[in-house]
Structures are given as structure tokens and as C-alpha cells.
């Protein structure tokens, strides 16, 4: 269940907005300008069901998102959605994986404390007996050059 962010979790000066997710759910979020650098040598791994609800997260996911495992499992992956990410990028992600293909892109993720972190994400559909049963997402450290390109490009995609 995706709930509104809580002010008591936020660290630093924040802004407030409401995100419309899947044109169905509205989520109030608070976000700051504090970046958490992606740690060297780690991979963030998660699996979701076909509705995008998390069924598995690894330790690096927990560390970087700031949420506990209990808070993440059973919750929509869009808990990480940052307002600076254009909805078109996620539309492309879902259109791609729903057609059975891999998707790769650079994503700015929202932390529980309102901060953010950039990742290079790859999402693949998990096919069992010719049917997509879940999705696996693996995030790795992005190059700063690519992140700078995305910082310029993404605002133009709204």
C-alpha cells in the first residue's frame, strides 16, 4: 500500500508536491536537494509482481532507499518515484517490459528522507512457461556524464 510521505522522516529543507501515479493514486511527497551518491561496487536488485508490487529487495536497495524491508515488500515500486522524473520515461519502461523486452535508462529515485539518488536501471520481464510472471530490476552506478545529460533532458519531457 502506497501512503503519503511523512514529514517527520524528512531531513533538510524540503518542497512539497502531489504525484499522480498510474492516473489512479495520488501521493503527497516531500523532497529535498540532498543527493546520496551511489556506492561503488554495489548493485541494487529488486523483483516486483506484474502489478509493480515489490516481492524481493536486496540489502543495497534497503540502504539506498532508506526504507526498511517490511516497508518495501508488498508496496508499489513507485514509492521511489521522484517528481523530477518525467512520466513518459515510466510509460516507456512499462510499454517495453510488457512487450517482453528489456528496458534500460537513468533514473532519479526518491528516498524516504526526501533526498535522492541516481541509478542506471535495467528492467527485464521474468518469463516462466512462456508467460511474464514478474519483473527484475537491477540498478548500478551511473556515469556522472550521463546523469548530467539527464538533468538537462528530463525537464523537457514533461
Amino acid at each position: 500500500m502506497l501512503t503519503n510521505m511523512k514529514l517527520e522522516d524528512i531531513e533538510g529543507e524540503y518542497q512539497e508536491t502531489t504525484l499522480s501515479l498510474y492516473q489512479q493514486i495520488e501521493r503527497k511527497i516531500y523532497y529535498t536537494e540532498i543527493e546520496t551518491p551511489y556506492p561503488d561496487g554495489k548493485l541494487i536488485v529488486s523483483t516486483t509482481d506484474i502489478q509493480g508490487v515489490m516481492t524481493h529487495v536486496n540489502k543495497a536497495f534497503i540502504e539506498m532507499s532508506g526504507y526498511s524491508e517490511d516497508e518495501l515488500i508488498g508496496t508499489a515500486h513507485s514509492i521511489l518515484r521522484h517528481p523530477d522524473m518525467p512520466p513518459a520515461a515510466f510509460q516507456d519502461l512499462w510499454d517495453t517490459v510488457n512487450s517482453g523486452k528489456k528496458w534500460q535508462g537513468f533514473v532519479k529515485n526518491l528516498r524516504k528522507d526526501g533526498g535522492y539518488y541516481w541509478v542506471k536501471a535495467t528492467v527485464i520481464p521474468n518469463v516462466r512457461n512462456a508467460e511474464v510472471v514478474s519483473y527484475t530490476s537491477v540498478r548500478r552506478k551511473p556515469s556522472r556524464t550521463k546523469v548530467e545529460e539527464c538533468i538537462k533532458l528530463y525537464p523537457t519531457l514533461f
Partner: protein
């Protein structure tokens, strides 16, 4: 009937005798004639797999897709608490503190160990390195990777972490770790080929109980393992999916 067992050629030299001891132990336990064939490199091993010569393999995760999807292998067990990790190292004289600080074009030494090479390439990506600005050099062993760096022939080396850690102190003094992976989910596993498929439960049980007696424990010690745990289809499928995402 005799079966052929092989081990991913990236094992550390210290464990070579351990695999022969393991094979002898396994033959006694299963009463099956199993011949251990150690190939010099991945190319030779894959040729044997292609010809359907291999019946039991301690496999590199990189080969999981080919073994399971193309050759009908079944996952059996994996060593407890063991994962493959990689290291990016440079010469002690290199001033870079981060892969992003390396020069615009670099030369990279590695072995033909496929999962370690893949992890290493992923760790170099944040420095904007790809095939266009890297000169790649494959050598036979991790000691030779170290030598390439120490002699100034290559800027960067990609190592299996276990192999780097077991280099001599004198060699390690001349190298500096830039990045050490903490991936935890990539690991080798023991897999059974189609000819042994019907004995899967029996083999699995024998291996799971291996650390229950002193003899079995001694054999495990010689491999550097504490025991085996079940490696099932879903976990193997996850490994295939994981490799799939990382190869992009």
C-alpha cells in the same frame, strides 16, 4: 557407464587438488564412475559442453543460461555463503581515487573468467568507459593480470576478489584497489546434465549431508567451502534473469 565432471576453469590453483578429492569422495558416495576433466580455459570447456560430453559441472554463473536453457542441465546445489566478487586494481603509483579519475583512454587486463570480467566492466562504466576508450588484454591467470599492471603494460586490472586476496604480499604492495564489488548474489553452482537427471534427488541429498561427518567436512575444507545448500529451479532462473540484466 562413466560420467564426466568438470569445474569452471576459474578456480583458484590452491583448490585444484580439492576438486580431485571431491570427485573421489563423490564416486564413493554415489557408486557412479565419474571422471574429473579439468579444462585449461572456458573456450575448451564450452566446446566439451557443446558436444554433450559433460554430465556434472561446477559452473560459472555466466554459463547458467546456456547450460539450463540450451543443454537441459538441472540446478543441484551451491556452496553456502560463497559469492563471486570482483576487484578493479591499479598500480600503487596511479593517483586515481575513483574510476572517474582514470585517464580518458585506458588499457585493461583480465582473464577469460566471464562473470568477473562482466562485473569489472560494470564497475568501470561510471568512469564512462566502454569498448571505444579501452584497450583490452586477456591473459591466462590473475597473477599475469597483476604483472601487466606492475610492468606498466596495462592501467587497470580486473580480478576475482578471492584471487586478488591470495596474491603474495609483495605483489599486493605494488597494487591498489580502486573498487571492490559487494554484489553478493552472483555465485557458482553445481549442475547435473541430462544423463544424471534421474539421480538428482540422490545426489542432492548426499551433497547436503556432506558436512555432517568429518570425512565430508575434510573434503569441503579442501575446496574452501563449509557446506552445500539447495539450488533450485527458481533460483537458477533468477540467476539467468540477473545475468540478462547485467549483460546490457
Amino acid at each position: 557407464m562413466s560420467y564426466l565432471f568438470t569445474v569452471s576453469p576459474d578456480f583458484t590453483p590452491d583448490h585444484l587438488s580439492g576438486w580431485y578429492i571431491f570427485n573421489t569422495w563423490l564416486q564413493r558416495q554415489t557408486e557412479a564412475a565419474i571422471h574429473l576433466e579439468v579444462y585449461d580455459n572456458f573456450h575448451c570447456q564450452r566446446k566439451a559442453i557443446e558436444k554433450d560430453s559433460v554430465d556434472l559441472i561446477y559452473a560459472n554463473p555466466y554459463d547458467a543460461t546456456m547450460l539450463i536453457r540450451d543443454k537441459g542441465f538441472l540446478p543441484l546445489v551451491k556452496p553456502v555463503g560463497v559469492s563471486d566478487e570482483a576487484i578493479i586494481a591499479v598500480s600503487m603509483d596511479n593517483l586515481a581515487e575513483d574510476v572517474a579519475h582514470l585517464s580518458e583512454k585506458i588499457s585493461v587486463a583480465f582473464t577469460d573468467d566471464p562473470d568477473v570480467r562482466m562485473m569489472g566492466m560494470i564497475m568501470l562504466e561510471p568512469g564512462d568507459f566502454d569498448s571505444s576508450n579501452m584497450d583490452l588484454k586477456t591473459v591466462d591467470t590473475y597473477v599475469l593480470v597483476a604483472k601487466e599492471i606492475m610492468q606498466g603494460n596495462c592501467d587497470v586490472g580486473i580480478f576475482l576478489a578471492e584471487a586478488f586476496d591470495s596474491l603474495s604480499i609483495m605483489v599486493k604492495k605494488q597494487l591498489r584497489i580502486l573498487v571492490r564489488s559487494e554484489i553478493s548474489v552472483i555465485h557458482h553452482s553445481l549442475m547435473l546434465g541430462p544423463k544424471l537427471a534421474e539421480r538428482r534427488d540422490e545426489f542432492q541429498q548426499i551433497l547436503l549431508e556432506m558436512n555432517a561427518n568429518d570425512k565430508g567436512k575434510g573434503v569441503l575444507d579442501s575446496l574452501g567451502f563449509s557446506g552445500w545448500e539447495v539450488y533450485d529451479e527458481e533460483e537458477a532462473e533468477f540467476m539467468i534473469d540477473l545475468m540478462d540484466t547485467l549483460l546490457m
